[in-house]
């Protein structure tokens, strides 16, 4: 009888344990990409929902290695807060082409939930998001090769980086209206947002966002089109390729070692010191010896002061802010050069361009740098108010920095106002005799449409994209 009671108790405990584990797994939801569709080598939206869970950590491990080079792990970690009720964590993660992608939600004691993505799911093709009750007709117009994803209006994030792998966003008036903020974020991040007409009243805020047939917002487009013209609208506009723009931005390389003291200077100083010491020792006897010792001490301190850089790490950055209308899409490169072997923690979320392994999180990227080595990071793209803006044929500086080296594709270098556009100032564009592309822009202009205006302040380059595309031939006289 006792044995039966013990067995029953054990079974009961086992059953309750299994039930608890099942309940925990069910109360943790992990979503990467849009509707589970991940775009390889792009930033993808990440969403983790927890219900009644203890404080935990999300760990995402992406092995991008191969058989020849072995494991190359990109690790993403984030803290998930504890609490009763629903907790939602959202961020954007750069997902390189993976061999193995695993995720887990874990406490120090246990793994609460985990999963993985199969190697066969690797797909670098961009997504076409459709918000409609029936995506059939849109799917037909976008073609068989297109990765069409049916999304709910509420699933559209308001973060620019989430749309890095999205080519177009098609909105039809048959669903609830998505938030205007999310639609603006998508367009500003480079997506071609097509609003299919007619729209019901509940879409009025969106209709206000797209007053014209087609207009720029950030680095993308807002387009109004009849349902049958979706393919034509997309053909008429082009998405800027941020990957090639980033590559162009990294020319000339940012991660070169900083210049040290010239060899000639060091050798001359060392030879002079050696000569003085020999003379003091040879001719000075006791005073000479003491003077030589004091000189050695002084030169030791002096050489340290003269040759030791104040920081072992040199940070450099270069950014490209692509504006259209009042919003801009900011791409930023940052290089870290470390003279000593050290672990560098940068308070940014980023991916590394030339290093196969790194560790990142929501607000921090950790680099393990050997002595005299450099790493270049591409920061998570973000949206910001546009600094350089077109209004008709006039350029406005809406920022707080003075912009120089103003160049308009098709119009040349703008030399009015000594080539400087101060904060709050505007500039009427003219056809310039000087059509030579400034060195800072030479790699970029090949990837920008005609009519793009470029200006810079130090390492920050600002681009104002024109609304008209294709850009008209240069006019004979402009203001």
């Amino acid at each position: 009888m006792n044995a039966f009671a013990i067995r029953s108790l054990l079974l009961l405990l086992l059953a309750s344990g299994v039930q608890l584990a099942w309940a925990q797994a069910r109360d943790i939801r992990f979503e990467l990409g849009f509707a589970g569709q991940v775009v390889a080598d792009r930033w993808n939206p990440l969403r983790v929902s927890l219900r009644d869970q203890p404080a935990a950590r999300l760990v995402l491990e992406i092995d991008r290695g191969n058989l020849r080079e072995g494991e190359q792990i990109v690790r993403y970690e984030a803290a998930l807060a504890a609490g009763s009720g629903l907790y939602v964590f959202e961020d954007d993660v750069f997902v390189p082409t993976w061999r193995q992608l695993t995720w887990s939600v874990r406490t120090p004691e246990a793994v609460l939930a985990s999963g993985s993505l199969d190697r066969r799911q690797v797909d670098p093709r961009p997504l076409h998001l459709v918000v409609a009750r029936d995506v059939g007709s849109q799917r037909q117009q976008l073609g068989d090769e297109a990765r069409v994803v049916d999304v709910l209006p509420n699933d559209l994030p308001t973060r620019g980086a989430a749309y890095a792998g999205v080519d177009s966003l098609v909105l039809e008036g048959t669903t609830a209206a998505p938030s205007a903020r999310a639609v603006a974020a998508a367009a500003a991040a480079g997506v071609r947002v097509v609003v299919l007409e007619p729209l019901p009243e509940r879409f009025d805020p969106l209709a206000g966002l797209v007053p014209a047939e087609q207009q720029r917002l950030g680095s993308g487009w807002l387009i109004r089109a009849p349902p049958g013209d979706l393919a034509a609208s997309l053909t008429a506009t082009a998405r800027l390729d941020t990957t090639t723009l980033l590559a162009a931005l990294s020319v000339p390389p940012l991660d070169e070692p900083p210049q040290g003291r010239a060899q000639v200077v060091v050798l001359a100083a060392a030879a002079a010191y050696a000569l003085v010491v020999v003379l003091l020792v040879r001719l000075g006897r006791l005073p000479g010896l003491l003077s030589a010792v004091m000189l050695a001490a002084l030169v030791t301190v002096g050489s340290w002061q003269a040759l030791r850089p104040s920081e072992a790490t040199t940070l450099r950055s270069r950014s490209l802010s692509i504006g259209g209308g009042t919003l801009a899409h900011r791409l930023e490169l940052r290089s870290v050069f470390s003279r000593s072997q050290q672990e560098v923690r940068l308070p940014v979320s980023a991916r590394l361009l030339d290093t196969p392994q790194w560790q990142t999180g929501r607000d921090e990227t950790v680099l393990d740098l050997p002595r005299w080595s450099a790493a270049t990071l591409a920061l998570k793209p973000r949206l910001e108010p546009a600094t350089l803006r077109w209004d008709g044929e006039t350029l406005y500086n809406d920022g707080e920095l003075s912009l120089g080296e103003i160049f308009v594709l098709g119009y040349g270098v703008q030399t009015q106002r000594s080539g400087v556009l101060g904060p709050g100032e505007r500039l009427g564009v003219t056809i310039s005799q000087d059509s030579l592309i400034p060195d800072s822009y030479s790699a970029l202009v090949a990837h920008l449409p005609m009519g793009s205006a470029l200006a810079r302040s130090g390492g920050q380059i600002f681009v104002a994209l024109s609304d008209r595309e294709p850009w008209a031939e240069p006019r004979s006289e402009v203001r």
Binding site: E256, P257, P258, Q259, G260, R261, Q263, V266, L267, A270, A271, Y273, A274, V277, V278, V281, R282, G284, R285, L286, G288, L289, L290, A292, V293, A296, V299, T300, S303, W304, A306, L307, R308, A312, R339, S340, Q341, R371, W372
Partner: protein, 206 residues
Amino acid sequence: MAVQALGRRLCQADMTQLLVGFFALLLFVLTVTWPQGTGSVNDSWYALVQTKTVALVLLSLAYGSAGHAASRQTLTLTLLALLCFHLFGIPFEVASYAASFPGTPLWWPLVAVTLDITAFFGVGLSAGRVLARARLGALIPVLAPLILVGIVCVDIWIGRALLSPFTTVTTVAPAHLVATGALSVFTAVTLLRTAPQTSDESGDSR
């Protein structure tokens, strides 16, 4: 006065010539290893500190073995003169360290080289005396390089950085510190047990 005597020792022709040669060697290493333009890694400290250490260890072994018949005073002044070489070479070392950012702490080569000079001076002295007693004095000139090669071989054989100045100067090696510390004590004892003045030198000093 001891410092005056040291000054006089450094003024002697052999020491002056060696000091010039020592500086010339350090300048040559700097010329070869200091980067000429941008984009180059500055590794000058590694080459410089190794060259400096090996040169001073060789000098210590050579002067130690050659001084097997010298008085305590002469040997002590010679050892101090070699330590002065080390002292005069510190600005080169610190300058290259400042620009190279090696992982080794700055204090390590300063301490290690001081102990190396003292330790190997005693080793050379004892080896020189053994050879002299065995009536093999003709081998004393080749003793210094032979001992250096020997300690490098011992380190390779035991598989750790214990005595070799090539490897121990760029990496903190507590075992090396213990070994050279013990040998330095041995040097001090050997010097203390040496006669204060030889019969030849007593005539000179008068």
